[in-house]
């Protein structure tokens, strides 16, 4: 969950924000209607008004949006921005718009539900030929050493700490993308593009994003990870990159670890295949690295994947398996009672009192039930423009 300070850090990024502002100046035409998905506290929505937008619908589920109204008023554009606190897929706009602005990336452009959100926006929000900021993101990768400043590589992790055996944890920890801001000196070869996301047309989130890149090692070293980053074209001629050697941004870049680092020599061929598939909530990654020694030695291949890197997450994912048979649980019974009590006339306080009466073992008092019911229903109620 992002906090207000996270949104502020994104706005303060000396690379990202000037590039987005320049792109808006290039793309937005006077009188354009604009939607911004993931507006945070509304900074880019205000900036879009300052660059000619007739009206901006600024959408954000996070409570940071509560600051948007005051920000818009302070900048003289309160009457031209409609703030909507919700996920965009639940929002209806009164009209289609000419421009989409978004940055739902994380360390990777394939972040969370981003592609599904953008596909939905194309279907329901945009006029034909609408302009998008960004226009496209390019995904890059390169073979990498393990950065010296990072935690130890999972293969080098201790088997026990202070007398407690760590079991499979270090190995499981390797099955994830690890955030890094190491420099270009950690790369064994120059980065290559393995995929491009073009936002000018609807993207099918359910289609895997995959690609390959071939490298020749430029020096000797221990190949321990695949570094992964992106460059973005926000508008023609305007963009930035997040890779090693670029100015540091809020995104950093990702390391996809090899379970067992491999010694490579200058001139060795390294083939990388990366694949990301959307599982309904986020992208699961898999990667395969093949090293072909230039001297004709034995070819070796390593595979990795993010699946199973988080134990709790794995348990949750098991419950989402197609073969899973959901069973009645006390939690489900409480939720069913809550939903059944909602009739448009009964107050939340009254609903909570009934819940506390029916489930005394779970809710010690009415206030406890009120907090629980309020949180659950807040997630489900219709969005209201503020």
């Amino acid at each position: 969950m992002y906090e207000l300070s996270d949104y502020l850090a994104m706005v303060e990024d000396p690379v990202r924000t000037p590039a987005y502002l320049a792109a808006m100046a290039r793309v937005i035409r006077p009188g354009d209607h604009v939607v911004e998905i993931g507006t945070g506290f509304g900074y880019f929505a205000v900036a879009a008004c300052q660059r000619g937008a007739a009206h901006v619908w600024a959408i954000e589920p996070n409570d940071a949006i509560a600051h948007g109204g005051a920000l818009a008023a302070a900048n003289g554009c309160a009457d031209r921005i409609t703030f909507v606190q919700d996920v965009s897929e639940s929002v209806e706009l009164p009209r289609r718009v000419d421009v989409l602005i978004e940055d739902l990336r994380g360390v990777s452009p394939l972040n969370g539900r981003r592609l599904a959100v953008l596909a939905d926006a194309h279907r329901r929000f945009l006029v034909p030929g609408a302009r998008t900021i960004p226009a496209r993101d390019h995904l890059f990768c390169a073979p990498s050493l393990w950065p010296p400043s990072r935690e130890s590589h999972p293969a080098d992790a201790p088997v026990a700490l202070h007398g407690v055996a760590l079991g499979d944890v270090p190995r499981a920890a390797a099955r994830r993308a690890i955030r890094s801001h190491a420099g270009v000196e950690t790369l064994l070869a120059e980065g290559r593009r393995w995929a491009t996301l073009d936002f000018g047309a609807p993207l099918a989130a359910e289609h895997p994003v995959s690609g390959e890149a071939a490298f020749v090692a430029e020096r000797d070293g221990s190949l321990a990870a695949i570094a992964s980053w992106f460059t973005t074209e926000l508008a023609p001629g305007i963009g930035f990159g997040t890779g090693p050697g670029e100015a540091r941004t809020v995104y950093d870049h990702a390391l996809l670890p090899l379970e067992n680092p491999v010694a490579v020599a200058r001139g060795d061929h390294i083939e990388v295949c990366v694949r990301a598939v959307f599982d309904g909530a986020d992208h699961a990654w898999s990667w395969e690295v093949t090293i072909v020694p230039s001297g004709g030695g034995q070819v070796s291949t390593q595979r990795g994947a993010t699946l199973g890197s988080r134990l709790l997450s794995s348990a949750r994912r098991r419950r989402r398996a197609a073969s899973h048979r959901p069973a009645e649980t006390p939690a489900l019974e409480r939720m069913r009672a809550l939903l059944a009590a909602v009739d448009g006339t009964t107050s939340l306080e009254r609903i909570a009192a009934r819940l506390a009466e029916r489930f005394p073992g779970h809710f010690p008092d009415d206030a406890n039930a009120l907090r629980w019911a309020g949180e659950r229903l807040a997630e489900l109620e219709e969005p209201r423009p503020s």
């Binding site: 598939v277 599982d279 699961a284 994947a305 794995s314 994912r317 398996a321 197609a322």
Partner: protein, 97 residues
């Protein structure tokens, strides 16, 4: 084509899997759908990491679990058909004599 004890299968490359508490979660990298395998399914899944005849898998199941051979074979066939249907496993040509 009907599955027999001579049918050889192997886990498909377009999937990733992880074991947790004796069970396995499979994720199809083609469509992002998760599949779950119970303890016996996990035992079978480990066996088909490399190309193997179903007869060998059956023998491994019989050695590891207290189960009637006919029942084990039927369950193995059902699971294998499911894995093949969802692209999580593929048939491989018979091994040369």
């Amino acid at each position: 084509m009907e599955l027999t004890r001579a049918t050889r299968v192997v886990a498909a490359p377009d999937q990733v899997s992880a074991e947790l508490e004796g069970e396995t979660v499979l994720l199809s990298m083609r469509d992002g759908i998760y599949y779950g395998l119970d303890q016996v399914g996990t035992h079978i899944w480990r066996r088909i990491a490399e190309p193997v005849a179903l007869g060998e898998v059956l023998a491994a199941v019989l050695a590891a679990f207290d189960v009637e051979e006919e029942r084990a074979w039927q369950d193995l066939v059902v699971l294998t058909e499911d894995l093949l249907a969802h692209g999580l496993a593929v048939r491989v040509p018979a091994a040369p004599d």
